[in-house]
Subunit: 742 residues, 2 copies
Amino acid sequence: MELPIEGNELDEETNKRGAAEVMSPMFSPTRIKFPKHIHTDVDDKLQALADSILNRSQIGNEQVSRQVTAPFEVPEYPIEEKENRSYFERQFSHSTSSQTLTSPVERSRPSLLDEDVTPQEVKAELDEEIDLVPSFQKISISGEDFSGVPLKDLELASKSLVKALMIREKYMALSHQHFPRVTARFLKSLADREEFSKVKNSYSVGDKKSIEEFGPVSIKDHPIHPPLKHGDPFSIEMDESVGCSFKFVNGVVQVFQNEEALEKNEPIEWPYPDLDTYLDDQNLMYAFISDGPLKSFCYRRLSFLSYKFQLHGLLNEMKESASQKEVPHRDFYNIRKVDTHVHASSCMNQKHLLRFIKKKMKTSEDEVVCKDRNGKTLTLAEVFKSLNLTTYDLNVDMLDVHADRNTFHRFDKFNAKYNPIGESRLREIFIKTDNYINGKYFGHVIKEVMSDLEESKYQNAEYRLSIYGRSRDEWDKLAKWAVEHRVHSENVRWLVQIPRLYDVYHSNKLVKNFQEILENVFLPLFEATNNPKSHPELHAFLQYVTGFDSVDDESKSEHIVFDKDTPLPQDWKTEENPPYSFYLFYMYANITVLNMFRSGRGFSTFKFRPHCGEAGNVTHLLAGFMFAESIAHGLVLRKVPVLQYLFYLSQIGIAMSPLSNNSLFLNYHRNPLPEYFARGLNISLSTDDPLQFHFTKEPLMEEYSIAAQVWKLSTCDMCEISRNSVLQSGFPHLVKQHWLVS
Amino acid sequence: MELPIEGNELDEETNKRGAAEVMSPMFSPTRIKFPKHIHTDVDDKLQALADSILNRSQIGNEQVSRQVTAPFEVPEYPIEEKENRSYFERQFSHSTSSQTLTSPVERSRPSLLDEDVTPQEVKAELDEEIDLVPSFQKISISGEDFSGVPLKDLELASKSLVKALMIREKYMALSHQHFPRVTARFLKSLADREEFSKVKNSYSVGDKKSIEEFGPVSIKDHPIHPPLKHGDPFSIEMDESVGCSFKFVNGVVQVFQNEEALEKNEPIEWPYPDLDTYLDDQNLMYAFISDGPLKSFCYRRLSFLSYKFQLHGLLNEMKESASQKEVPHRDFYNIRKVDTHVHASSCMNQKHLLRFIKKKMKTSEDEVVCKDRNGKTLTLAEVFKSLNLTTYDLNVDMLDVHADRNTFHRFDKFNAKYNPIGESRLREIFIKTDNYINGKYFGHVIKEVMSDLEESKYQNAEYRLSIYGRSRDEWDKLAKWAVEHRVHSENVRWLVQIPRLYDVYHSNKLVKNFQEILENVFLPLFEATNNPKSHPELHAFLQYVTGFDSVDDESKSEHIVFDKDTPLPQDWKTEENPPYSFYLFYMYANITVLNMFRSGRGFSTFKFRPHCGEAGNVTHLLAGFMFAESIAHGLVLRKVPVLQYLFYLSQIGIAMSPLSNNSLFLNYHRNPLPEYFARGLNISLSTDDPLQFHFTKEPLMEEYSIAAQVWKLSTCDMCEISRNSVLQSGFPHLVKQHWLVS
């Protein structure tokens, strides 16, 4: 039996030509035939279209379409028709002036290079920007409430976030570190409201002078290359002593005008960082990151950012690429990139180190290079003999410095890789600054790497050198090494890494308490700042040291919580290593005082850019959020949406090294970099340890290449990451301006 | 109520101290407490162990263990204890002599470099090999039936596989292409059995002479570098004509002793490939690959191979790495690698091409380089003017040759990338052999790439040049280009790629039927072989052409099945393009006859190494299995277990280009390369199109680097892949011997 159906739910066409053959509802007892195809005019058109598609892929009666599907030099029929395409693309970017550079497309992210621009300039700049940006497809979201959370939750979440941002702003301002202008302006607009006034009022350093000293620079007519520095890089004016004295009070240096003030215990009235305030702030932050509603709010916002970016990409890819093409002369290859995180002792690749060792064996085999355990001196040739090796034999596998499958999740194994041939002796001779030959070879090999960088012209790097804090003369020795061997390049700046090794020094009876490490690390710097002539080489070297790093295996378990009951540095005498936050707080506090002192004297200040969130507890990232201008790694952020969102809002730089992570902690295709990038976090690419990870002669390009290929980054994406790397770096502000704006 | 339990299922220790607190079975109505921890002596030991682990990661009272967890130069306490480790590793590889090279570890894969070794030598070699191989952990599988399939299935499967292998052996033998010795020996042992005799007897060419002409070479004392060739690479003895005549019979050339024989239609009695036999074989192969039980048998075998390899890796990684270290001087950087699949027109990277174009604009802007559509000649400067471009403006983005997100699954878009700035004119001028300036610039840029290869010393490449088959003089023009511009390097060999473009030529009225293409491609070669003096440049050029490639977009749909009803080449006059197998059969057939002719004259022969299985129908791979010595891509093999297993058994070379696939057909981390490798397929790494895909100056190293990082290949794996690439390549046998054995 066939059901006659009233046609009101069918479209007319179908209805007209025998509607009986339509599926019945499931419960109908009758079986109805599968609806037959009914021919319409539309079908004809579709058929014609289908035919033409088949034709195009099958039969070559249209030259052009067929031609473009050939994986070889295409035959020489006129394909000038292709010009249509480029014409189309040019149309797209018609409104783009050729002024924009590097990242012609402002993907609506907060600008970082903004310290010295007046509000008037900002407005002018913004007006101009509107001209520069091609007419993108834009996504507008309307409706009453698009946050997707109940209004009350939204209010609470916003308050928490604002408070957290104010906390960071405070710590950054105190320590002369960067906080983005857009966010600062927004916070300022809230500062007068009662509920925030308390947080806001608790700091008002306003030591803006040193920053404004640059003066507003007209950036319009600058060439991309900053003026070259001539003469001896280490010659510097030695200012007179200002006669200050210093004393550690509970682990933080206090500065006294003179001996007299010291005796009276009347330090200069600076806002010395204060442990109790920090602990309060820390507790507040703890509460924020574990607050359920805030977590889900931040997660939603992050997802929102990421979807928006994907949409933007889909809609505007062509336009971005077109306006990128419009920039004359510049492309990804000749814009500046900074390798924001490399350890000096592994900045050369394995092949390079091997070649260098072989070269030294050829040219200086009779040079005395070290002492053995009995105090007998050994020449390079004798060292090789003792290792039972000839130069010819030595190969990269024997060098055994490359990370391999066995290093995954084995930081200890990985670190053993720093010893070529598993021999500490070769490491001692070739990649140390402080050895029998005073780091001569290490200086040479770094200079070779530097000259490669200079040759590449657009690649720069920030190398980490170690200060351990075991003795008071480490700084002077390091500075002497750099000055003596002229280890300097305009493409390179230094960061100093302080390993978190109290427990090792203590068990070796090198230090009695934690305080001593702080003294060894910081007092020489205060002395050099007070009286440059007392440490002339150090003073000269410090021009090129742009910040501090804090390093060690973060994945080790920590048993101690840093709270009010934790012993102070002078009382920390146990065998155990203090926790991560403890290290960070005391480093931050002393850097802050040092920066106040140095900026007062008109000297350079230091940034704090620790390793943070490579592994281990999320509290590391909390400390990073409060103390660090930027961090290295930040992998763990993927597990903490609140912090991740705060990192976005305050545009904290994250120097990521996916190849390093791939060997140690996280497989390449699981790395959060592309996600962070889509969400607008301020990330850059860095190599970490070319000696251990990279294969080609251009480690940084290799890092970019792999990221671009695996994650399908566009040229525009890569330029944005390069730009981030410049902004995160410690190169002088003026130099960055040249690099980024032309 | 507590259940008293008889203690026979509990260990004594537990029983003794109150066994009552043990979980009851699920159905027991009573609730029993969670068993309490009972302290034992073992616990003490474990506790001590745990303490020591915690100590190691926490408290630094053991210097060494703490030290190795520091991500920086380790402080200078005595860490000579690390020597223990290297001692341990040396113990491992103690039995390894320093003879082995490149791949010191024979991972029990069939050897390919074996043509000219006598059985005695084989035995000697095998005996020696046992000495060379370190004592690996071995996996032995025992039990009666470990194939995991019913005996009947096993028998059937084996028969099918043997038949398939015999089919391939036949086609390889006929065409002077390689078939692995191990497999051949095994097949020989079966040949006498009745059921296989039919297949086996159907061929017996035995034209082994040309191969044995090399004579057994003592490979013991050879240095790794083959003797350099001096003098003009293109000077070659011009043999006299042998006066043969040629005629196409159903699309396959037949060779006649002389004009007279031609008139009598009495061709030389060679085993000319025969369409009917091929179609029969093809049908048999069709049946095999769709046979359910055979499919699952092959899939199981492949899984078995892959698990075995993983196990081998886990157990022997350390030993492999140790014996790799024992090889003096050699490492991954200084062993030979061949880029087995690169197109000449994209062999330079984008930065290189850009620099080259700019250089030419500087040095030769007044050179006339092309004619416009009206026949007016244009200088380089005029061309740039017509494009509205200055040299300074030009950047890599504008060049627009790099593959991007838009090329994925868009072969047509990808191919448009061959036109710099989307302008066919620049392509015409800079990357073509046959243009107004006779390919001068293209010759120059290729020579620059070649000189980079020579400088790297260990990198080699096989570039593809195009012959289209549109006219009879293409070969002579190409040879003239190479000879005139001296485009030659000892690091490079050529393959000639024939695009499958009949439909384009036909619709442009360049050819009337398919036969004409075959004539244009093959007759010049027969003529040059018959009488070198008639084509002197071609004869000289052919020394360096090692084989043929077949190229086009495989993903286009094919409507026509190649069977007995398919028109013969002379009758193929329709607009439609013939199917893939049709192209391959006629190329194979004519290459086969050509090789018979050339080997008879003592000239070099050609390999057939088409693009195959990049996309499209699995039948492409069937044709590849029968006709090709090796193939490029082979991605589709992952869907055809029977063929994949046959590719393993016959060790057919597969030149894979995961970066190219990543941009066109398959995301990087889904590429089957690591799986193929683990299963023992003979794969190599190649770049395909550095112009489109690569970023650094060393594209091949970049390709290896990414593969090594993403798939965590060991150095040993990478050396094995390099070795495969040498074996797959068309470099002379003697040269390969030098490269692989020292």
